[in-house]
Point group: C2
Chain length 375, copies 2
């Protein structure tokens, strides 16, 4: 073990520039309840891009430095700088999750028990070589699990499971998911198939429709189709879905979903109510793939909610017991239900090449990057 | 007591016409748990207009019939007819609340106890002369209360109290109210002053600002002012308000409120979070004064909810004990905190004059109509 420990940091300076660079932060010493994990694999998730690129205009990105020490700079529009004031001139480590072997442990029994084990970790900037984390933020995998298999154990698996658990906690009986061909969406589809939950998948393209149907998805509707509203309403009438999860946000999709729910619910109702149905309709927005305005065209009565959905907050709401069983399930089924696949593997240095950024920044369905900081 | 019992009904026919007319429905016989109330006063609330006018284009309204039996007809746009299919060709009685003397009672002790008493009633079409209602839907007033004083005992008082109780149940510490110079808004202001709750009143006009300040309101912000966003943010920072109630819906006000909440919350925060603050921000929409799209410009992180707020559903959520104490408070303070004032009194016949409809249909601040079916 050397003393070198490279991490990827994102910095916004007060002259409206974003800089992405690598820094040697040295080898950490674990506290009593901490372990040092040699990060061997860490995924590039859409949720990482918010920290990494922030509000910079990446079309202005230029690369400098050396192959070993690449530096990316890009302009940040002046008008968004006030909202970023608490970030300015601070090095922000990037990377929400990753996996690797525990190479040093603190003195507590919980920390010592992880020595030499393969763990997944959450939080604190995983795009680095060695990460010192509290044991609370580690998930021990079954023996034989590889770092690549374990790399995406938290964000997508727990978010998908949190959707299902939220559906249960709030007494809905089927789920609608938008942008459903994503890694997360495929995982949610596998969970719902395993658990016998009806899932209505909303996609935008025919190839995404096919991908999900080939995986066994029963309900797939295409928002680009002229028949979308009718198809979605019919699927809701059949399944009774009254909860939805959408990573897009901007646009009219949330509105369409709520209106289709209301149309399906009131389809066979005999008695008129000026206030709409009493059946509660819930739309959760868990991302910002479209940062434009969310437009709600209200024909869905008064029994409805539109809420932000953020994993960390949701786990707090679901409670420790449910979360513990969710984590256990992920560790047990990481190579089946919760498997992720990657189309590209890059080193920390390669992740800071303009052409890599252009590729993974697209967030295209079926393209997923993995950072391997030890190569 | 005659056998005559006139009620106001709203009917949409399958030839796309709305008809408002008076019908003699005869004197009702109370069941065991019912009483017959001689309705002496019933308010015209904004919430009644949805049933009364529905989606008709009232600019096309014409009057026919006689002075004793006026008939109003208006066109209903063809495109909204499908949404109204469960109303078509049915006489829908109008009027959500009212008050008067119990003139007949069923055999149950609860019903008999109300004989001769002044009660307020909720539901079922109160724009009539004699109304047969379950004792559950009656509120007995203190001796000496007049029907005019008791007429608005349910909709505005319980809605305003439900806002305060919802704030308490959901652990917020101050309230934002939009369209705050309304009868309901003035009532909410009196409740909050009595209970020591900070209330931020949003109005659109200077005279509304003055009206509320003259009533003792501390926080009044004007959404027509250039300083609105700054004023609202400052008031939120001072009060810690994280819950709002808005009867408008359409437009950007809900979005502005949530963004101002977030700005106030993060104003002094040192640490940057790409997901925004963890403080939960709740916006309730309890009306549809603007039926246009609700536009959310999301700069308020992920800890937020926008929900419909409908009195009946909210009372169910608050629970019977809370609701019982709310009703008790209304009966005790109906001439003070929960007092309503009326600028015009009209008979059932006068309510169906084109010029009355034009006047009360405007829903102007400070203009409120009372129907007195016994005159």
């Amino acid at each position: 073990m050397t003393d070198k420990n490279i991490q990827l940091v994102s910095t916004i300076s007060d002259d409206n520039k974003l800089t992405l660079s690598l820094q040697d932060i040295g080898m950490p010493q674990p506290g009593a309840d901490e372990v040092v994990v040699r990060i061997e694999a860490a995924p590039l998730n859409p949720s990482d891009f918010g920290v990494m690129f922030s509000a910079a205009d990446m079309s202005t990105a230029v690369q400098s430095g050396t192959d070993q020490n690449p530096i990316i700079t890009a302009d940040v529009p002046a008008k968004v700088m006030p909202a970023l004031k608490t970030r300015v001139n601070k090095n922000t480590p990037v990377g929400n999750e990753g996996a690797g072997t525990v190479v040093a442990a603190g003195s507590s029994p919980a920390a010592e028990a992880l020595m030499g084990k393969m763990v997944a970790v959450i939080g604190g900037g995983t795009y680095r070589q060695y990460h010192c984390v509290n044991v609370r933020n580690c998930l021990e995998l079954k023996e034989g699990t590889t770092a690549k298999e374990a790399a995406s154990s938290f964000v997508n698996p727990l978010t998908a499971l949190a959707m299902v658990e939220t559906m249960r906690a709030e007494s809905h009986k089927a789920i609608i998911h938008a942008a459903a061909a994503s890694s997360l969406g495929q995982m949610l589809n596998r969970i719902c198939m395993a658990d016998g939950i009806d899932l209505i998948n909303i996609v935008r393209k025919e190839e995404q429709e096919k991908l999900l149907r080939d995986m066994g998805a029963k309900y797939v509707v295409n928002s680009s189709s002229d028949a979308f509203i009718g198809d979605l309403t019919a699927a809701i009438a059949e399944t009774g879905a009254t909860i939805s999860f959408d990573p897009i946000g901007g646009g009219q999709l949330t509105s369409d979903i709520l209106n289709c729910m209301e149309a399906a619910i009131t389809r066979d109702v005999e008695e008129y109510s000026v206030y709409g149905s009493n059946t509660f309709k819930q739309a959760y927005i868990y991302g910002a793939l479209d940062r434009g305005p969310i437009t709600l065209n209200r024909n869905f009565g008064f029994a409805w909610g539109v809420n932000g959905f953020l994993l960390f907050n949701v786990l707090g709401k679901l409670g420790t017991e449910t979360v513990a069983s969710m984590r256990k399930r992920v560790a047990e089924e990481i190579t089946t239900i919760f498997a992720s696949s990657y189309t590209h593997e890059v080193t920390l240095q390669e992740a800071l090449q303009l052409q890599s950024i252009a590729a993974y920044g697209k967030q295209a369905t079926g393209e997923k990057y993995l950072i391997t900081p030890q190569r």
